[in-house]
Each structure stands twice: as C-alpha cells, then as structure tokens.
C-alpha cells in the first residue's frame, strides 16, 4: 500500500529547538566580528573577501575585535565533508584571486572535450548534437574536497580563524536579530548522556552571521522555519553517490550519461544521470545523481551506481583500475522557485547550496556559492561600517547577478521529469533552447517526502558486490574515511516505528547503511516495522532530511574525511 514518508514526520521542531537566545554568561561568550558557518566554497570565499576588504578599513577592523572572521566547520578539515562532480566555472576563482593563474588553482584540467550518452543495458548511444546544458568547455575539472583545503589555506593566510571539528548547533537570536551561533557539545554518549570528558559548546556572538552550510544546512533549515523564509515552492533534492578510481588508461573527455540503469516509466519517477570525469592522467571520478522523488522503496542510488559500473561502456573506462574513494551528498534541485523568499534577515545572510543556489540542468553550484559568499562579504562590510545589521543589499545583489539570472532561466527544468524520461527530456531541451521562455509559468513541485513509496523491484538489478569493481555499503563507508566513535550520540531524528514501505525507503536510500529493519521483522509480513539506527555510519549526505527524517550535525570532527571527492 503506497505511503508517503511525510506522514511520519521526525520528532523535531527546528525553530523551537535550534533557535535560542545566548545563554552563556556574558564574559564566557566568544566574540567575533563575522561568524561564517560552513568551511566550503561559499563560506571560505566570504571569509577571504571580508579579510581582503578589511585591509582598507582600519576602523572597521578595530571594531570587529581580535577575531574579525571565524569560520565554523564541523568536519575534521575544510573539505572533509565536501563532495561534488565537479566542473568548476572559473569566474569566481578569477574574481577572488585575480593574481593567480589557473595553473595554480587546485584543479585537474580544463575541459576540452565532452560527450553525453544515452545508456541502454548494453549500449552507449552518443547524443548528438549534445544537449547544450552539458557543455563544459572552459570549465575546470575539480575536486571540491581539494578546493576546500586550498581555500582554507588562503583564508588562514588572510587572517581568518578556522574552527574545524566544530559544529554549529543553534542559531542565537535576540529580538529577531541574529546574534551568532552556539557550537555543539562534545563528549556525549549514545543516549545523549554526558561522558567523563564532556565539554559543552559555547555561544559565539558576532556582528554578522553568514550561513554557508551547504545542502540541508542545519541552521539554515531552522532559520527558514523561524523567520518564515520559505520560497514559493518547496525545496527538493537529488542524491549523488560518487567514487574516485585510479585507472591505467587516461580518460580524454568529460562524460555525462542518462538512461540506464534508471527506469523510464513515469510511475518510478527516476530522474537523474551519471557523470564520469577525468582527474589528471591517472584518475577518474564516477557518480550517479538521482532525484529523491523516486517512488520505489527499494531503490538505492549506491547500488544503482554499482550496477552502472557493470555496463560495458563504463567497465572499459575503469578496467584494471582501483577504487580509492567513495562518498555521497545531496544537491538541492528546487532551483529558482525554491530559493528563500529573502536571503537575509537582520544580522544574517544565507549563501550557497544552503539556499539552493544550484543550476540543476547545468550541474553548477560551486562558483555560485563562491560569488554569493563574496557578495555577502561586500554587503556585510558595507553595512557594518554604518553600524547596521541590515544585509538586504546582499539579497538584491544575488538576485540581479548571474546567480539569479541563471536560476531564473532554468526555473522550470526539473519539474517536467516527473512525466518520465522522454517527455521530461524533450521539455527540458526546449527550455534550454528557448532560454526558459517556453513553457513559462511556474511548474509545480512538491517535497520529496510527499511521494508515495511502494515496494517494487529496483533491487533485482543490483549486482552482488565482488570487491573489485562493485562494493557494498559498509566497506564503502570506511573508504570515506569515516572514523566516528561507536558510542557517538544519535544525531538523526526519525520516527522509529513506521510502515514497512517507509522503513524500506530509508534502508535502501541511505548510502551508508544507517537504517536497518531488524532481521526477525524482515519477512514477518507485518505492515509496520521498527527501525534500527547506526548513526556512527552516517556520512551526513542529507538524504534523510529530504525523505521524511531530519539530519542534525553530529559531534564536531565526526563523519567522513573526504580527500579527493
């Protein structure tokens, strides 16, 4: 019986729980000038830009105090939780580092050749002419995990404080003005109890707070609820699972594929495709990205990626190679209509994927995040000079920039794909060619968790892991560098007793095998089952939040340690 996970909402009220006044005694609060939550491209670009601007603002620098900019990052290092394709559009790097040559950027190569293929079970049919949204000439193949580390170094050189292994747990708000964030506790046990080395978090008060948390931003979600910033349409997400492979034969082109193994029939609603990018001469990255509005409860993006690798076309590329990395992350795909109704409230600005600044048809988001971070920096410095906490100039700037323009142009491109692959593909192509003029209007989209799930047979195609080319989830979790302690507290909010279809959805969806139906309930025919959770496996991709639960930040430093994803 089809049932939507949204009917079993997680036991959490973000605005209630995660928004609070500062509670530390005043002399114990940590004071910084600008607090940036998230050490990714958006946050670090913001940090670097603020420090660059402050070089010409001695008065403001003094006002901001000892720590003008603090970047709060929950991963072990900036980049540890970053995962993407990616083909980076160079505009943001050029703007932030006008004196650096691309040869000094943390990139692999400039894209000179790209191709799109439609896969059937056995064949790979090149699509010519190539759908224009996939053209990547002039872009640079990058590892966002490496980019994060590169930007972090620059940010530190510029004088920003990087507080890694630190989660931002709560948003500090007083009189509807954002005052900063509270860092997460450390040293709690599995049931939240305080262990011997328990260390409480601290209030970090700032004159300006930038939320650059990336997909499923924790405080971003809380802020959107609290300040009622919801966009015109609800946000939705795609889940990407990717691997990096060392290969003997260099790959000469950027590849995107559509079709197999995703199923075309509208009832399955499987939208997405894969990417295979060369990383220098000896590595490739391969990933599968699928919208989370699919309807088969047994669908698993990780396993579909393993299935994809058995295709002869892909096998040839990976032949003789060795997997050296694995990871997963969600991408917001709601586009223009899902952007928050405003990107700033008094004391705070939201930048990057957290706000949904992703151009889905072109698979671009990194450079938008960086541009947004820089715009935020400019607006904030300008406002703080006048002792104002109104950053509305930032919101205006983003909407009038290429970010706003590009998102507007592709605003209805994702929705048609609920009509199935061919209809959707045709409509999307028309949209691209007409630069969004056709068909116009505002196409409806609903939250991923509203999709009714049914147990079907997606799993019948999934290969049994052979540990050479195909791998199971548990060993993949270790390949992500995840070293979370076994007694870490549970950071995932989700209902534990749910209909089988809902439980199965989460079990199959999660790339890290966090959720399990107990053995004795697997085949007992009961309509409802209990859910076992292993939060220490979690690689914080965010899929659960899209599909009916809620991910909150785990203890700072936990989670994956992505190196080259």
């Amino acid at each position: 019986m089809p049932v939507a996970p949204a009917e079993f909402p997680p036991p959490v009220d973000p605005a209630e729980e995660f928004v609070t006044k500062p509670t530390d005694p005043e002399d114990e609060r940590i004071e910084v000038g600008v607090a940036i939550v998230g050490g990714g491209p958006a946050g670090l670009a913001c940090a670097i830009k603020v420090m660059q601007l402050l070089e010409d603002e001695p008065e403001l620098t003094e006002k901001l105090g000892e720590v003008p900019v603090a970047v709060i990052e929950k991963g072990k290092a900036c980049g540890a939780h970053l995962l993407s394709g990616a083909n980076l559009r160079p505009s943001a790097m050029r703007e932030l580092f006008p004196d650096l040559d691309p040869s000094e950027w943390p990139v692999y190569q400039e894209v000179t050749k790209d191709a799109v293929y439609l896969l059937t079970r056995k064949r790979a049919l090149p699509l010519r002419p190539m759908p224009p949204n996939f053209r990547n000439h002039g872009n640079y193949v990058t590892s966002i995990a490496k980019l994060g580390r590169f930007l972090a170094e620059r940010a530190e050189e510029a004088g920003a404080y990087l507080l890694t292994e630190t989660a931002a747990d709560k948003l500090l708000v007083e009189d509807r003005i954002v005052r900063g964030v509270r860092s997460g506790d450390k040293g709690r046990g599995r049931d939240g109890e305080e262990l011997a080395n328990f260390e409480p978090g601290s209030d970090v008060v700032a004159k300006a707070t930038v939320l650059a948390e990336g997909t499923q931003g924790h405080l971003t979600g809380a802020a959107i609820d609290y300040f009622e910033l919801h966009g015109l349409l609800p946000q939705r997400w795609e889940l990407g699972v990717k691997e990096v492979w060392e290969v003997p034969k260099p790959l000469d082109r950027v590849i995107h594929t559509m079709g197999w193994p995703l199923r075309k029939a509208p009832k399955y609603n499987e939208f997405g495709g894969s990417f295979i990018y060369p990383m220098g001469e000896d590595k490739v990255s391969i990933g599968l990205v699928v919208g989370l509005d699919y309807t088969d409860a047994t669908f698993s993006v990780h396993d579909a990626l393993q299935e994809l690798k058995t295709h002869p076309f892909v096998r040839k590329i990976l032949d003789g190679g060795k997997r050296v990395a694995w990871g997963a992350k969600t991408i917001p795909s709601g586009g223009f209509w899902a952007l928050p109704r405003t990107l700033s409230v008094p004391g705070m600005a939201i930048a990057g994927d957290g706000a949904g600044m992703v151009n889905v048809p072109e698979l671009k988001g990194i450079h938008y995040g960086m541009h947004a971070g820089m715009y935020a920096a400019e607006a904030i410095v300008d406002a703080l000079k006048r002792d104002s906490v109104n950053f509305d100039a930032y919101d205006e700037r983003v909407r009038n920039s290429s970010i706003g323009e590009d998102l507007y142009r592709s605003r209805n491109m994702r929705q048609p794909f609920s009509r199935g692959f061919f209809v959707g593909g045709a409509i999307a192509s028309l949209m691209t060619i007409t630069k969004g003029a056709f068909p116009g209007g505002r196409w409806h989209q609903h939250p991923d968790a509203d999709e009714e799930m049914e147990i079907d047979d997606a799993a019948s195609g999934y290969p049994k892991p052979d540990n050479k080319y195909t791998f199971d989830k548990l060993s993949s979790v270790f390949a992500s560098g995840n070293a979370t302690r076994d007694d870490a507290p549970n950071h995932i909010r989700v209902q534990r007793h749910v209909p089988r279809e809902v439980a199965q959805t989460w079990v199959s969806m999660c790339p890290a095998q966090v959720y399990e139906i107990p053995d004795e309930q697997q085949d007992n025919g009961a309509a409802e089952v209990d859910l076992n959770i292993t939060p220490s496996n979690c690689i914080q991709c965010g899929a659960i939040t899209a599909k009916g639960g809620r991910l909150t930040p785990s203890e700072g430093g936990d989670g994956p340690l992505y190196q080259e994803t």
């Binding site: 114990e28 940590i30 720590v67 603090a70 072990k76 290092a77 404080y161 507080l163 630190t166 860092s183 450390k186 040293g187 262990l195 011997a196 080395n197 260390e199 978090g201 601290s202 970090v204 050296v324 049994k464 892991p465 540990n467 199971d472 548990l474 060993s475 560098g481 070293a483 053995d519 340690l561 190196q563």
Partner: protein, 263 residues
C-alpha cells in the same frame, strides 16, 4: 613542577600511508594531525596538575618538525599546555631514532623539565622507543608503555605491562614517562581554548639555539640507513566474505570450518 609534553605531527589515521620511493622516507604530503598517543600524554599532564598533589607551574608542549608542526603545537595548547616550543631546522630532516632522540634531548635540556611525558608510539614511526633514548641523554629514569601514573612533588608510582605481567614501579623525579592509550580518555578542547591557542607563547629554535651539533642529526648524522624497500612476503590471500545475509554468511563459515575438520 614543570612538565614538558613531547608531541609529534603525524599523517592523519584516515590517510593512506606510503613510503616515497625516491627519498625512502614516509610521504608526509597528506592531511596531518597531532599524534593520538601524544594527546594521552597531555591529558596525563593535565590530570597531574588538576589532582593537586604536585604543584605544576607550567605544561610546555615541545615538538621537533617542519613548519607545519606548529599545528600540532596549537592543538596541544588547546588541550591545556601553557606554551609551546618548536624545534625546526632543515638540518634535522631525515634524522633516525638516534639523531631524533639526541635533538629532542637537547631542546628539552634548555627547558629543564621535572617531568617529560609523551605518547609511547607514533602512528608513523612504529618505533616505541624515543622516550627511552631521550631519557638517557637527559640522565633521567625512564619507563615506557605506562598505563597509570600517581604523582606527587618528588616521585611517581607507575604501572605498565611488561613481559611477565603488570609491573608497579616507583620513579624519582625528574623522569621521562611514555604513556599508552589505556591511561586516560583525553578531554575535548573548549572553543575558547582552541581560539586562544594561537596567542599562547610559541618559541622557535634552530639547531644552533639549543646546542645541537649538526653532524649528529639529519640524514648525514644518522647512524642507520634505509638500503631498500621491498614488498612484504607473498602470502596466500585469504578469502573475504561480506556479510549481506547473515544466515548465508554463517552457512559459509560453518562449511569452511567443516572442510578443515575444525568442528
């Protein structure tokens, strides 16, 4: 009492370690971290201070390493050390155990500590001995693999596992103690401490500053040489089963045991 905590920056546990075939030394280009065993050393120092039976005036973090090693010192200070000392010099690169122990002893000499604490091993060296080398140069008693310390102003009572069981040993200060990870659960640094770390005093020394003779350190001054690096002996690869269906897995295991007449 002044406690010096020796710390080392090592490749992060999650990074795949490899030897650079050109230099025949460990490739240290990836992510680095404070050696986990050393965090137990710092925690032990903090606990001695907090216990109050010995009056600890200062906890000083000391490291020998390239420029990047300051991060390990920042971490050590965030965990409670009052200040840090960084011995860094190109001349030290490629030092073996003998040379490293000598260099560390010289920089410690300049600090005149009452107690030196360190982790018994580092994630990369796998040597387990640097504490004992340093102690002899400093002319202090030493114990390694210690998992319990009770300290007062003049002496320590330590426990450790040796060849025949648990030894309890009384050690007069000043001393050098290398600790195992079972000794304590290191604390988490507070955010304030992390942010304050960069402001704590950090002294940098080169070999000449602490009287290190250049011909006794570095690759030239080392008494051992890596002559070759070889792959490990070929072992017949075992079989690996990934447990998807536990019932099935267990059946396979039982069959394997039966085949070998182990049931």
């Amino acid at each position: 009492m002044k406690i010096c905590c020796l710390v080392k920056e090592v490749p992060d546990a999650a990074v795949q370690k490899r030897i650079d075939p050109n230099t025949k030394r460990l490739d240290r280009s990836g992510e680095k971290n404070l050696n986990p065993f050393d965090t137990h050393g710092i925690e032990a120092a903090m606990q001695i201070r907090e216990e109050g039976k010995a009056d600890v005036d200062e906890i000083v973090a000391v490291t020998m390493g390239p420029e990047s090693a300051v991060r390990a010192l920042h971490k050590a200070v965030a965990l409670g050390a009052d200040r840090s000392v960084h011995l860094t010099d190109d001349a030290l690169a490629g030092s073996d155990v003998c040379a490293t122990g000598y260099a560390l002893a010289k920089v410690l000499e300049s600090e005149q500590p009452d107690l030196v604490l360190l982790g018994q091993q580092s994630d990369d060296g796998e040597c387990y001995t640097i504490g004992a080398v340093v102690a002899d140069h400093l002319k202090m008693p030493s114990l390694t693999q210690v998992i319990k310390i009770e300290a007062d102003a003049e002496k320590l009572v330590c426990e450790r596992q040796a060849e025949y069981g648990y030894d309890t040993v009384e050690v007069q200060l000043p001393a050098v103690i290398s600790v195992g990870d079972a000794i304590n659960e290191p604390r988490y640094p507070s955010l304030k401490a992390i942010m304050g770390a960069k402001k704590k005093p950090l002294e940098t020394h080169a070999t000449g500053d602490v009287g290190i003779e250049a011909d006794r350190v570095g690759e030239q001054g080392s008494q051992t040489q890596v002559l070759a690096i070889n792959p490990p002996p070929e072992k017949e690869a075992g079989e690996i089963i990934e447990d998807e269906d536990t019932t099935e897995t267990v059946e396979k295991v039982v069959a394997w045991l039966d085949e070998r007449k182990l049931l």
